[in-house]
Symmetry: D2
Subunit: 342 residues, 4 copies
């Protein structure tokens, strides 16, 4: 089986990473590539690392251009996916890498995005309970946010096993590609090299309700999330440090057992041996997730830490993994667990 895939939004970081992965996917043929302000430009100029596509030219993002594909990936600014998706037939697999269809509660959407809620699609994080089944055969996929991917995989096993109190405290460091390719002064190399700085502090980051949604589902009760993202001086990677108070009776052994159980058969999540901790460099360019967990007896808290590549497992790799499931392919097709290091 060969599927023909279009990418709407091929000039940005998410689109570029998706193309990198699709080029290595044995069952995908790359079809239309679109952009808006960049339509008409050579991909060799916009994405010089994608040599095999150097001579391709971006087309405008229109229904006509996107028609006639088996899969359409949307790497568009938030709020633009619904209109495009509506124009594509129900037989086309639409994989939305934006936020539009991730949240279940319209109130969450409206509070954090300020526009009417477009709906909810099957959620592209197969490792969560029930998610894989929902993706199989689906024609619509909402790819998770990069932070919710890292945080949910770090912490859901503790909640699924009823080990943690429903108040999670999360601090995550992200590489700068998570902030996108649009030029802004605070994202200049001169500003970010040598600097760590937080943003969206105090509950304002739009990924907060998505994390809460995932952890609450695992816990079977509402989990509140205190989330502080920080910008780190590196192009890629998320390190999520996630802690929650342990429920009474929790031990280091019970924590470890819960994580071993959760990740025994997952192809992309690697629970590290005790004593070894995740590093974003180890998952650079890979779809792997490194997870480690500790129980701090003195403080009475569980500390779960994950490392992902925000562009791969956090965005484009998650999209391909979900596409594989939706199309009935082996989930790992075209994806690697091998990082590019050092």
């Amino acid at each position: 089986m060969t599927v023909r895939a279009a990418v709407a939004g091929a000039s940005g970081y998410a689109g570029g990473e998706l193309l990198r992965l699709l080029l290595a996917h044995p069952q995908v043929e790359i079809g239309a590539l679109t952009g808006n302000s960049n339509a008409g430009q050579r991909l060799g100029t916009l994405q010089p690392h994608l040599l095999p596509l150097a001579d391709r030219v971006l087309e405008p993002t229109t229904t006509e251009v996107l028609a006639g594909h088996d899969v359409v990936f949307l790497a568009l600014p938030h709020g633009q996916s619904a209109a495009v998706a509506e124009q594509l037939g129900p037989e086309v697999l639409v994989v939305d890498m934006g936020a539009d269809f991730r949240l279940k509660d319209p109130a969450d959407w409206e509070k954090f995005y300020g526009s009417p809620h477009a709906g909810t699609w099957p959620y592209g994080l197969p490792e969560l309970p029930g998610a894989r089944a929902a993706l199989e055969g689906s024609k619509r996929v909402a790819v998770p946010g990069c932070y919710p991917t890292a945080v949910s995989l770090a912490l859901f096993p503790a909640y699924a096993a009823s080990l943690a109190e429903p108040e999670a405290v999360i601090v995550a460091a992200s590489g700068t590609s998570g902030a996108g390719k649009a030029p802004k002064a605070h994202l200049l190399g001169s500003e970010v090299m040598g600097s760590m700085t937080p943003y969206g502090v105090g509950g304002g980051h739009r990924h907060t309700p998505e994390m809460s949604q995932n952890l609450s589902a695992a816990a079977g009760e509402k989990v509140s999330v205190s989330f502080t993202p920080t910008l780190a001086p590196m192009p890629r990677g998320i390190l999520a440090t996630c802690t929650a108070k342990a429920k009474p009776g929790v031990t280091a052994e019970s924590v470890r057992a819960a994580y071993e159980k959760a990740y025994a058969d997952e192809p992309f999540v690697h629970l590290l041996p005790e004593g070894q901790w995740p590093a974003t460099a180890s998952v650079y360019g890979s779809n792997a997730v490194q997870v480690q967990v500790a129980y701090d007896e003195a403080a009475g808290r569980i500390i779960a830490i994950s490392a992902i590549d925000n562009l791969t497992k956090g965005t484009a790799g998650g999209a391909v993994q979900s596409m594989n499931l939706a199309l009935g392919l082996d989930e790992s097709t075209g994806l690697t667990t091998i990082g590019v290091a050092p």
Copy 2:
């Protein structure tokens, strides 16, 4: 007044930063510079950024060499300061940049360092309640750890004003100079560039009891600390993200007011205007501390964040600030609040 200062341990990062600051101090004359394995080497080789001292040669760390100074700074490995300090007379100001004399509770020391406790000296963080008075005229100073400096200044106002529950959750990112100059494979540039990774997770980091000691003193009750340090791809800087559950009745206004009161007259701590967040680049090479605080009403938590230069305010700058107080000089002499950015 001119004081003559010796530096024991002048080849490492702490010693080098101290010399950088002492060279700019109008009332300090730099005396003996010592090392151990590096004794006999030119400082121009070991610290090529200290041009005015390029032709100085390191001497061995002996009582004879250190004798005859008004101030002796000890930048030695943990556990070595007590023996050296004993040999220096009570009229000499000894400023210990190691951990030996920071902790009050011998049990804490023994648990985290595994050796007999050497004692407790006045604590070189003048911004803490009561600390400044204890430093004035003292002949012994224990310079705080870099993480406890960042964390205590971020969080003590909340505890001093009884706004926070006594369970702090802290995640801090540090530049690599905090790990020292001894060559280790995991600290190679190839390993750290592009990578974020935690260490000492689960309560094991030696700075944990020092943070708890400071916050407990401010709170008037025992404050437990969950502390996760992470290594960030930058040479200098600590960004400490510190959160605690708010006590009942806390509001954004009461939190802000507590911080404004705490830092109204501090020369080195800068509470940022609302909406602006600390960045380590802004305090690069300076003794300034940037602090900001938010109240996340949905999560019910106070989030206080600080940025320092781990080598300046976090080590050598704190040492000079304390020396100034101990000698009766203006506290800011020789120190700057201006960072080197971008």
Copy 3:
């Protein structure tokens, strides 16, 4: 003596670095600070590392605002300085950090900048033969470009001593702050971290004629320059690798002797001991220049290498050094040779 200084263009990197230095200058009082698009904004927002000036507000760049100062620094886009300078009286010291008054040959200016030549002012690189005398008492100063500073100091001693053939080949690596603060996609942190890339290859960089002008003056004959600048993943610093074929009879000793002679009494240029090589980290934030030279007998070439901080000695430090000379102050006032490292 206290001089009152205005800075036109205080929101950019050059202006920010200048303010950092002026704040430490004992005889300067900082007067008006101006910007264009940023007029009306707090400096604490634009330059958060300059804490003592955080509450200053930028004014528009007008003759009225700049009037009444002893010194006016112009950190303006190329081509704008002449109009502003004309409005300032001949008794005001005007220090232009742009390119407008650096070149002597109008044909060079017109070829590389495409506009009419505004004139030539005394050149602010006191280490060049004759330059110091021309600066003393001058009311107009043209601060050199950052690359010409690094390259001229690396190579002029070889030309002044008639050791090198008049064809210089130069490859220099610059930190990203040299490209300024205006947001452009190729300067994003995501793009520059982990990447080295050249630009302006083949003779097109505007600093090329300025280098040729300086080296030709030293040589007493026209020196052609092949110059390739590269962008390096660091915020600051220039490492200039400069080579030229040795004239007949040159030896390693004669090369060394020429450099020792040239820099025997220079306060800011440090000829390193043999075997030690310049590093940009060693001059971070300092006005020092590290220089080293070798004679490659097999290839018959002299290789001279310099490291500077592009914003300090390469721009704002050079400006202050020249101001000191123009005002009759000690040349080193307010400047340091101590770098911030590691």
Copy 4:
């Protein structure tokens, strides 16, 4: 066909990169992995990015361990390969990633390495004239040095087309992984981040005769090389800026034509469109080479610039490419021209 490959020296950067590539090679089965001081350790500890091999344990580098493979890769310190290779039968393909068999002239070897010359094997840079044919079916391959790979591919077309005078001037910037994984103080992250510094200046770098050998062969006359390597603050990548005086009659068109001809059919070398310049980020983790060339008429020089990943095309990718040729496989098997960016 499946070949069984052993890797001697699997714990270092070259060995790790080789394993990353071999894991993706459809016709390679990974056999013995050896180390010396690291024998007995898990690969998951030493190379945490190679998840599929995490549970493999390093064996000692002995003849017994290396026996029974179709291919043996040697990633050993210089000087150790000959002894190991001798023990392996002539039917085994031995690919040496060290320097031992690269140089043809024993005098060059002895001058730069100080030990007796072991011999010369077919040279693993297929893009050079005649090299591909020599590799096909060979049982011994000497993988080029990383700098000679970048430099030879940048410059040989100019020499092959008789466009350049036989004196090349080369300045190259390398990521830190080129310096290996053995911990040394000057390679610490604290030292390299934010710094550019040269080393081996003046003709002393061991890759110099290898470059000269390659360029001389292309030119048909002895080409002298002035080579200055610099260490750049990035983990991977080489940017080589290579210039030579143009021979009389050379034009921009004749230069361009020579490069277009040289690289018209090369699968891994990408001559960029005019106006676009190589960037190491674009070839991160890929076997591609970006090349661009300009003719500076004013200076009379050709400037050819290449970007490679020092660990991929510069070492392990070149090794796999050569293995493919030696085994009669498609040259590109298991290799990619797609970089991991940003």
